[in-house]
């Protein structure tokens, strides 16, 4: 039975006399949608357009309306000097920008990788039936429930170079020779950020994966056990392929989120060149350094990147809906 309620035809065949019921419902639907759409247009549509617009102008914080069009100048422009060398300017020629891109990609890659692997492990644990399963599920919700800022400060304290418990523990266990300045040192800053993000987000991944795992019928495993298939092999041959659709959706979702990251880095490792992501850089330029146009350019580029991934996500999601379901 189709769950798609009223199936009156709209386009297929044109009835001689169109039923009032259909008309009434479609009319009502329009009225119901309009307020929401207007709200979205004002809150999202227009600001997005304006932000993109600003990237093509020389706007500054104090003079937003007096901005003049500069085309792609903020993105890339060049001067040919008398000596013949070409000097490139603009965001796409800015090493800071590419450093930020690299940081973002690096962060997204490692965080999603670890969160998927660890999330899978946690999901498998939760999928098993054992006493105290409820406690574990409640426990893992805690990292997710804590606001990012609070997590950043909590971990900042734990990773503190002088008084941090991590250093203390590390040294006591013999893993560290000397206290590490996790958040301050360029080598370890990204690691610190990754630790906190993985701690915070693995539960979410675990829950999404768990939902996918729970859709796999138990009797497949029972049949495999009777056939004498080793549990590890069961995982790779049964679990993984069947959980793949849910897994892919969760991964793309996370990648999108990871590419946008701002809060954690701003608070945990401020002003660290090795963790500055695209969002952080853009925000800085927009509101701290008064490089409004430059910041707009950077945020637009990030938007483009996300847009490409979003289309991928939706396309993949649609494919799953039609193909992945039984």
């Amino acid at each position: 039975m189709a769950t798609d309620a009223m199936a009156p035809i709209t386009s297929a065949s044109t009835p001689k006399i169109k039923s009032e019921l259909l008309q009434q419902r479609v009319r009502a639907a329009r009225w119901f949608l309009v307020p929401m759409l207007i709200a979205l247009a004002i809150v999202a549509g227009w600001p997005l357009m304006r932000s993109i617009w600003f990237s093509f102008t020389d706007a500054t914080l104090n003079d937003l309306y007096g901005a003049e069009w500069v085309g792609f100048g903020n993105y890339l422009r060049w001067q040919v000097l008398e000596s013949g060398t070409v000097r490139y300017r603009g965001v796409l020629a800015d090493p800071d920008w590419w450093n930020a891109v690299w940081n973002t990609v690096r962060f997204a890659f490692w965080s999603v990788l670890w969160e998927t692997v660890l999330g899978m492990i946690v999901a498998l644990v939760l999928n098993a039936e054992f006493r105290g399963r409820g406690i574990v599920r409640a426990a893992i919700l805690i990292p997710w429930a804590i606001p990012t800022i609070v997590s950043a400060r909590m971990w900042g304290w734990m990773l503190n170079d002088q008084f941090g418990i991590i250093n203390d523990l590390g040294m006591k266990l013999g893993l560290l020779a000397a206290p590490v300045a996790w958040t301050a040192s360029a080598d370890t800053a990204m690691t610190a950020v990754l630790i906190v993000d993985i701690w915070k987000t693995t539960p979410f991944m675990a829950l999404l994966i768990l939902a996918g795992l729970q859709m796999i019928p138990k009797d497949i495993y029972e049949a495999a056990e009777i056939d004498g298939v080793h549990p590890v092999k069961q995982f790779f041959k049964i679990t993984l392929p069947l959980v793949r659709p849910a897994l892919m959706v969760a991964i793309i979702f996370r990648v999108l989120d990871a590419l946008r990251i701002f809060d954690l880095i701003y608070v945990l490792t401020p002003n660290s060149r090795s963790t500055k992501t695209m969002s952080v850089l853009a925000q800085e330029n927009l509101f701290q350094f008064n490089n409004f146009a430059e910041g707009s350019t950077q945020s637009t580029l990030l938007f483009l990147l996300i847009a490409i991934f979003t289309i991928l996500y939706i396309w993949l999601g649609k494919v799953n809906f039609e193909g992945g379901d039984r």
């Binding site: 798609d4 309620a5 009223m6 709209t10 009434q24 009502a28 639907a29 949608l33 929401m36 709200a39 979205l40 809150v43 999202a44 227009w46 600001p47 932000s51 600003f54 937003l64 644990v125 098993a128 054992f130 105290g132 406690i135 409640a138 426990a139 893992i140 919700l141 805690i142 429930a145 804590i146 606001p147 990012t148 800022i149 609070v150 950043a152 400060r153 909590m154 304290w157 008084f163 941090g164 418990i165 829950l207 999404l208 939902a211 969760a250 979702f253 590419l259 701002f262 809060d263 701003y266 969002s279 853009a282 925000q283 927009l286 945020s299 990030l302 996300i306 979003t310 939706i314 999601g317």
Partner: protein
């Protein structure tokens, strides 16, 4: 057989429970440690301990008397509540249209709404700043309520549409036969059936609004208008090197305990809400 078999099973079991213990400890420890720290005072702070050694509420007292923290809490509650109510109000009727009425372009519209929730907030920051200044609501809670709609609205529409799609067809048809208009169907037939979904969605949206940082950082600049995340992020001491960790931890605990309690109470609903939005999504 015999003893070897039991030993293997025992080891597997032990390893499993060790893993479980590890997961629980890692999840809970930072929170536990924050509570621990917040209960220390003075130089105690600077000694690393793993178990509670002191029980001092100094830090908590300072959190509530110094600075504008109570005001920040109020701001957060106000902003999150109003933004959620607004979003739910707009979303209920919209999701009826999107889930129960077939019209051309519906699929596209749903995808667009989903896409909006994927916007990186930074991408609209500049434009939003302009609009907010234009409306004269800069540095007020209204700026945040306005801005937060960009993610609360698509999210609530998406989740409510999923829930509404699952309501049985016959009940709607019976209502139509009884002479109910779409508005009557929504208010008198569907809403009473949907209020658990509304609670869940509202809760998730509330948490998202509560935790939001970027917009709050950008659109509010004075201590009195700030919300909790920004307040906690910017908590600093007298000099550049003096970070009041005790107070920071105390503030963190104050903010987190109710949230954790809420999440634990509504566990099941939250998990189903998250997966409805995420996996199906």
């Amino acid at each position: 057989m015999g003893t070897t078999f039991d030993l293997w099973k025992f080891t597997k079991s032990a390893a499993f429970y060790a893993l479980v213990l590890f997961i629980v400890v890692v999840s809970v420890f930072p929170f536990y440690y924050a509570i621990l720290t917040s209960l220390k005072s003075g130089t105690d702070l600077f000694r690393v301990t793993y178990w509670p050694t002191s029980l001092s509420f100094d830090n908590f007292r300072q959190v509530f008397t110094q600075g504008a923290f109570p005001r920040n809490l109020l701001n957060s509650v106000f902003v999150a509540t109003v933004t959620v109510i607004l979003a739910l109000f707009l979303a209920v009727t919209a999701s009826f249209a999107l889930s129960r009425v077939r019209f051309r372009g519906r699929g596209l519209l749903l995808m667009t709404i989903l896409a909006v929730s994927m916007f990186p907030q930074i991408a609209v920051l500049a434009g939003l700043f302009e609009v907010i200044r234009f409306l004269g609501i800069y540095n007020t809670p209204w700026a945040l309520i306005f801005a937060y709609t960009i993610f609360t609205l698509p999210f609530t529409v998406w989740v409510l549409t999923t829930f509404m799609r699952d309501l049985p067809v016959e009940i709607e048809e019976a209502a139509i036969v009884d002479g109910a208009t779409p508005w009557v169907i929504i208010t008198q037939v569907f809403m009473p059936l949907m209020w658990p979904a509304l609670v869940t969605t509202g809760l998730l949206a509330f948490i998202a609004a509560w935790n939001e940082f970027l917009f709050a950082l950008t659109f509010t600049v004075s201590n009195e208008t700030r919300t909790v995340p920004v307040a906690i992020a910017l908590l600093s001491g007298g000099s550049q090197y003096e970070i009041p960790w005790g107070i920071i931890m105390a503030a963190s605990v104050v903010v987190t305990v109710p949230l954790v309690a809420l999440v634990l109470v509504f566990q099941r609903k939250i998990v189903s809400g998250l997966t409805a939005g995420g996996v199906k999504g």
